[in-house]
Amino acid sequence: MIETSWIVGLGVILFFIGLIGAFTRKNAIVVLMCIEVMLNAANLNFVAGASHYSDVDGWVFTAIAIAIAAAEVAIGLAILLSLYSTQETISLDEANILKN
């Protein structure tokens, strides 16, 4: 049995990898992947908590989060596609139509 704290620590590491990636990368698809990583880090924490407290709530939350993440990715990719078709780029440095 692995210590819960190890799993939580892994979650923290994964979260910061995702966060730093989201800050630093230009490619929108990579940023999207980084966001997924962060979500999964959160899921990992839920799971860890669930097994630690032997409570089913964590599992439920994880399942919902995965479902939402799937929907979110679909929307995200759709946005990226339309961004590409209108701006001919998916570089985040060049996309600033939300300004002001």
């Binding site: 989201a22 800050f23 929108a28 985040l92 996309a95 939300l98 002001n100």
Partner: protein, 758 residues
């Protein structure tokens, strides 16, 4: 149009109206119980005339058979007249007597509670109050009721001829008759009201009708402006009158005559009435009276009010409405009458009344000297005569407040008697002037169709009409004589009393009465001048324009009222004087009784008091001899060659040419004449004040509201808009910044929660 006679069959619809009074009598009603119908019948008639007129406008039957509503108006007024005659008969000759007054039990109109502070705490126990409406009759209101109903009826009759034959009024006469009847409601109601609030209510109704009828020719600039001026000037007075009512209410806890007059020296809850408080209250009421009766300094509206049709001038601005102020002052008698429960210490108030009267009488008579418009002369004459009555009332109040109640009652009675004489004479004079104007206008219309500059009211276009308009000239002669105070005729019987008693007040009581005394005496002579001048300019001498040569008396419905009123004016004063009207109206006697011809004459011409005798004779000298002779020297003259006037007036025309002639063109160009022409600059002054204070201040207020008060709100609005624009700057559009912000935000929330939970 033209030579037609009265179509008497048109009067058929009036019959049921006249039958109201006999029917009620047959039903066993008391006359006083029917008094409310005097107001109610016109009240039901006037909307009917207005609405029917609006619907049937232009309809032939409506126009010819019903005279555009005039017949219905006449009917309503006839029923009011018949009921009021019934009441007058009951009280003067019949079974009913005033104990002091007669009241129909008031109907409670508004009820409410009042709480009083008794110095230490609030008292809630005795606060129930109500304002009712009932009928009040005493000799003076009886007299006024008769004057009002009688003149309303006659002048409505006159209007059938005057208004309906003038094409300019076509299709709008229903408006005239509707408003005329509404006015009658106001006047009858005011006379019958049994408390000050209802007096005020009807008073205002009359003000409204005055406004509407002066502005009858609403499309005329001058008429619209005059109507507004009349309403606003009287409104100034009315507001003070209302304040006076509030003060009276506070003092007495009621506005009903029966409660107040029962004991004017004790106020609400048995408290003794303070003369200072009462003085202020009466003064406020008096300002209202000054406005309504066109006295200095609120006199400016009356001359302009002549813009209205002549019947309106006759009825409202000479015979009835303007008397409302006098009636109100008469109602103050119980307050000052120390002989019965009055409050001492109100001499100052009485002096104010007398002075205002004296000043106005003199001023108006002076302005009347230079007027060329026949109606304006009469308007100023009205002001002047009303001022006489105010002076008399002032003297009467003074006497009563000092305890001289015989003299007081006498002069109060004389004043009210003068009101009667003046109303009859002036109503007739205005109708006669209307007859002149109508015929001159008609003749002018006949001769020149397109000359619009001709003024049919200008006496410089008349002259020599004595031969062409016999009835009118006779009527006007007797009217003028009554106003001047020619011995034995109409106004003489009352004017003498006023002047004599005013002097008496100066001689025996109050040195400050000297001013009014001198002014009214001088005015008596001036009245002689300007009334004679008016008559001579109109009727004597050769015709002054080709129009005047073609005038002839021919309009139907006009003659009858003139004839009736001529008789009343010529004989009424003397007959009533024989019956002791002065004592009756003054309240000294409670019934009319024959005095005997010799007694009455002796009392008038040879009073026991030497001073009175001197004053009386100098008045007669000034008014009946010096004034008219001066006027004859300026304006008198024979008629044109080969024309003869009716002997009743012919002697006067011939007499007027006997005094030589005097050229006054130099005087007419002097500065004084100019000032009189400009009405002593009062109108200019008021206009200047309004134009330089009220109007700029109103514009400033509008600007202030738009730019400062609303500006602050707009500033808040625009500041918040610009604030949100600057906040918008932090959205850079870069995804990375959004993520960073989300992360930072998240972390701060965590930190917050941590901090709170720890």
């Amino acid at each position: 149009m033209g030579e037609s006679t009265n179509e008497w069959n048109l009067l058929a619809p009036i019959i049921p109206f006249v039958l109201v009074a006999p029917l009620l009598y047959a039903q066993g009603w008391e006359s006083v119980e029917a008094a409310f119908l005097i107001v109610v019948i016109p009240l039901l008639t006037f909307p009917a005339i207005l609405v029917a007129g609006q619907i049937y406008n232009g309809n032939e039957t409506w126009k010819n058979r019903f005279k555009e509503g005039g017949i219905f108006g006449l009917g309503a007024l006839a029923s009011s007249l018949s009921i009021s005659l019934w009441i007058v008969y009951d009280y003067v000759a019949g079974s009913s007597h005033f104990e002091m007054h007669s009241v129909v039990e008031p109907f409670s109109w508004l009820t409410f509670d009042v709480i009083h502070y008794d110095g230490s705490q609030w008292d809630v126990s005795s606060g129930f109050a109500d304002i009712g409406v009932g009928v009040w009759l005493d000799p003076v209101s009886l007299m006024l009721l008769f004057v009002a109903t009688f003149l309303c009826f006659l002048i409505c009759w006159f209007s059938l001829g005057y208004m309906n034959t003038d094409p300019i009024n076509e299709d709008s006469n229903h408006r005239f008759y509707g408003e005329f009847v509404l006015f009658a409601i106001g006047m009858f109601g005011m006379v019958l009201a049994d408390n000050f609030l209802w007096l005020f209510i009807f008073w205002e109704i009359m003000g409204l009708c005055s406004y509407l009828l002066i502005g009858f020719y609403y499309w005329k600039d001058s008429a619209a402006a005059a109507a507004k001026k009349a309403f606003l000037t009287t409104r100034v007075g009315d507001v003070f009158l209302m304040v006076g009512l509030l003060m009276l209410y506070d003092i007495y806890g009621s506005l009903e005559f029966s409660i107040i007059f029962d004991d004017p020296s004790t106020g609400v809850g048995g408290a003794l009435v303070n003369s200072t408080d009462l003085n202020w209250a009466l003064l406020m009421l008096f300002i209202g009276a000054v406005g309504k009766s066109a006295q200095f300094p609120l006199h400016v509206w009356l001359p302009d009010a002549m813009e209205g049709p002549t019947p309106v001038s006759a009825l409202i601005h000479a015979a009835t409405m303007v008397n409302a102020g006098l009636y109100l002052v008469f109602r103050m008698v119980p307050f000052v009458d120390v002989h019965v429960n009055g409050v001492a210490g109100l001499e100052d108030f009485a002096l104010v009344v007398a002075w205002i009267g004296g000043i106005t009488a003199f001023m108006a008579a002076a302005i009347a000297f230079v007027q060329n418009d026949i109606k304006k002369v009469l308007a100023y004459s009205t002001m002047s005569q009303l001022a006489y009555i105010f002076t008399g009332l002032g003297a009467g109040l003074l006497f009563l407040n000092l305890g001289e109640y015989h003299a007081g009652y006498f002069v109060i009675g004389a004043s009210m008697f003068h009101l009667f004489n003046h109303a009859m004479a002036k109503g007739m004079l205005f109708m006669a002037s209307g007859s002149v104007i109508h015929e001159v206008h008609h003749a002018h219309h006949h001769l020149h169709h397109d000359d619009h500059d001709f003024d049919p009211q200008d006496m410089r276009n008349m002259g020599g009409l004595a031969s062409k308009m016999p009835i009118t000239s006779i009527a006007m002669m007797f009217g003028s004589m009554s106003i001047i105070g020619i011995p034995l005729i109409g106004g003489f019987w009352s004017k003498e009393g006023i002047i004599a008693e005013t002097w008496l007040a100066y001689l025996h009581k109050e040195p400050l009465m000297l001013g009014p005394a001198i002014l009214v005496l001088a005015t008596a002579g001036m009245t002689g001048f300007y009334m004679t001048r008016m008559w001579l300019m109109t009727f004597a001498g050769p015709p002054k324009s080709d129009v005047a040569e073609h005038v002839h008396e021919g309009t139907p419905w006009i003659k009858e009222p003139l004839i009736i009123l001529t008789v009343v004016t010529a004989l009424g004063g003397f007959l009533l004087a024989l019956l002791g009207a002065v004592d009756y109206l003054g309240g000294e006697k409670d019934h009319l009784a024959m005095h005997g011809v010799v007694d009455t004459l002796k009392h008038a011409f040879l009073p026991d008091d030497n001073e009175l005798r001197a004053i009386g004779w100098s008045t007669i000298l000034l008014a009946a001899i010096i004034g008219p002779i001066m006027a004859s020297r300026v304006h008198g003259g024979k008629l044109a060659e080969g024309v003869k006037a009716n002997p009743i007036v012919g002697w006067l025309v011939n007499l007027s040419s006997k005094f030589g002639s005097q050229d006054v063109s130099e005087m007419a160009n002097s500065q004084l004449a100019e000032a009189l022409q400009r009405r002593l600059y009062f109108d200019d002054l008021y206009e200047w004040i309004v134009a330089n204070t009220a109007i700029p201040f109103a514009s400033f207020s509008a600007w202030f509201d738009k730019n400062i008060i609303d500006g602050v709100i707009k500033q808040i609005e625009s500041n918040s808009v610009s604030g949100s624009v600057s906040v918008r700057g932090i959205t850079t559009g870069s995804t990375r910044d959004y993520i960073l912000m989300a992360a930072v935000g998240m972390l701060s929330i965590f930190a917050l929660i941590w901090g709170v939970s720890a």
